[in-house]
């Protein structure tokens, strides 16, 4: 008997939790991002968003190019830094390499408002730039010939398979030394 009552109470609590969750979810779907007060109290992002891909679906890919600069200031030609891993079916189950692409994309997205904002000069002090520069330094420093003490990188945006729009160079970094 007691077990039956306990079960009913548990049922009711479970229903209440689910019902509250549905109600909170429903009232937090308004599309404008400023109506997000409850999400501020949701550190684990438990309130879902109805939009399928993301709040603002990505419309572009970002690519990083670099060139090495020797002590005389002469630069090599630009090379693409390969970040995007080739796809295979196994990645459906396990794909840690995806994080590199995601990080590069997120850093570029963080840097973009600064580059296009009113004070683009401060971009080189932004955390996104410093992370990008540190990551490239770490990747390139292992196998660069010693006569190249530094490098420069650029951020390029293109629209992937859409051939209508031209790739766009968003940013070219200043000279960065490997020794920093």
């Amino acid at each position: 008997m007691n077990r039956g009552i306990a079960g009913k109470v548990l049922d009711f609590v479970a229903c209440g939790v689910v019902a509250s969750y549905v109600a909170v979810t429903f009232w937090n779907q308004y599309p404008h991002h400023s109506f997000n007060r409850m999400r501020g109290a949701d550190p684990f992002s438990l309130i879902p968003n109805w939009r399928f891909f993301a709040p603002d679906p990505a419309g572009h890919d970002y690519h990083l190019f670099y060139r090495l600069v020797d002590q005389e200031g002469t630069a090599t030609s630009w090379h693409l830094l390969e970040i995007v891993a080739a796809r295979n079916p196994f990645q459906t189950l396990w794909f840690p390499g995806r994080r590199d692409e995601k990080a590069a994309f997120d850093l570029a997205s963080d840097l973009l408002p600064i580059i296009t904002g009113p004070m683009p000069d401060v971009a080189t002090t932004a955390p996104a730039f410093r992370l990008m520069a540190a990551s490239m330094r770490s990747r390139l420093s292992a196998d660069h010939p010693p006569r190249y003490p530094g490098f420069q990188f650029s951020l390029v945006r293109d629209s992937g398979f859409d051939q209508e729009s031209e790739p766009e160079v968003l940013f070219a970094s200043p000279f960065i030394t490997f020794g920093q």
């Binding site: 019902a19 009232w27 501020g40 990645q91 009113p118």
Partner: protein, 357 residues
């Protein structure tokens, strides 16, 4: 794009889909209480939001605080709420004209600083904002001149002191005070104009930055208007500019920001302003008063055209007009950041002292 994650997402939905399938529809042990409870909780949630929105509306319209209502309606039929913080009856008076979608709290840093320096300060809500009301059943389109008429009536009734009069306008509010200062209708006490990161009537035609922002601004205001009109104002997070204001005015600022009236009035105003600005041709007419123009550094650093338009405004005024730039400020922080607002207030005090000397 990492679409692999959707494989697991779709699979995880299978139990829920299976539960609602036809094969399970008539099972005797089926339990839909959670569904009904969820619908009930959603309705209750909506009722709570609506109740909060109604209580907020009551506070915004009814809780006047230090503001009082103008005794007689203006020529437009508006009933305006205003506050006069008097200093010396013979000293200068500053009347503040806010920008589009602004609250009175936006000017709290500047108004307090000016008042502490011995200046009488008059603040008021334009018709439709806060406790001020436009004429009932007025469905007409907004015109900037209607706000100029309201300002004239407010100055005539709400500023009885005989001292010199200065008008301060931020953003679009600058256009209202510029029109007020037209030679044929300005109050004889008027001594100068102060523009804070002002709008220029030609900016939508001349500035690519402004022009490209039209649709974004329109859809942004529209989105806020719809959301708050449906009672979702309580879901608005508290923006950084409110947290930068003096603590005593933050709650009031949030109430006004989350209330649909601000967005409905702002949308109506923006529709009228956009039409008038887009139709503007030629040059701004000369103004027979000196002015101080304080630009936000980020506004003029981002757009050379905007810098030129600010200079154009200054050039249309009498000597000793001047332009100054508030370092590191942007269009909003020039009012809401304490350090930027105080820098503006100091410039205003210097300008007033030059004029009244």
């Amino acid at each position: 794009m990492g679409l692999g994650r959707f494989v697991t997402s779709f699979v995880s939905m299978h139990p829920a889909v299976a539960y609602t399938s036809r094969a399970n529809a008539f099972r005797t042990d089926r339990d839909d209480r959670a569904l009904h409870l969820a619908a009930f909780a959603t309705v209750i949630g909506g009722a709570i939001l609506a109740a909060l929105a109604m209580a907020r509306r009551k506070r915004v319209r009814g809780d006047l605080g230090e503001f009082i209502l103008l005794e007689t309606p203006t020529r437009n039929g508006s009933i305006l709420a205003f506050r006069r913080r008097s200093a010396s009856p013979t000293g200068p008076t500053v009347v503040i004209e806010t920008g589009l979608l602004s609250t009175q709290a936006h000017f709290e840093w500047i108004a307090s600083r000016l008042h502490n320096a011995g200046v009488s300060v008059v603040q008021y809500y334009r018709a439709g904002y806060g406790p001020s009301r436009k004429q009932q059943n007025d469905a007409s389109e907004y015109s900037i001149d209607s706000s100029v008429r309201d300002l004239e009536d407010l100055v005539a009734s709400g500023c009885p002191d005989p001292g010199k009069l200065f008008l301060v306008g931020h953003s679009f509010g600058s256009e209202i005070i510029r029109r007020y200062a037209a030679p044929d209708r300005a109050d004889p006490r008027l001594a100068g104009l102060i523009y804070i990161d002002p709008s220029h009537p030609a900016e939508l035609n001349h500035s690519d930055t402004q022009r490209s922002g039209i649709s974004k601004l329109t859809s942004g205001i529209q989105s806020f208007k719809v959301g708050t009109s449906f009672g979702l104002g309580s879901l608005l997070s508290r923006p950084a500019w409110i947290l930068a204001l003096p603590e005593p005015v933050q709650a009031r600022a949030y109430d006004e920001y989350a209330d649909a009236r601000l967005w409905q009035t702002g949308f109506r105003e923006w529709s009228g302003i956009r039409q008038e600005f887009q139709a503007f041709e030629g040059a701004v007419s000369s103004v027979p008063f000196p002015c101080l123009l304080a630009s936000a550094e980020q506004t003029v650093a981002a757009d050379q055209v905007q810098r030129d338009l600010h200079q154009d405004l200054v050039d249309a005024h009498q000597y000793p007009s001047r332009l100054t730039t508030i370092p590191k400020s942007n269009h909003d922080s020039i009012l809401t950041s304490r350090s930027h607002a105080h820098a503006v207030a100091e410039e205003i005090l210097r300008f007033m002292s030059e004029i009244t000397r």
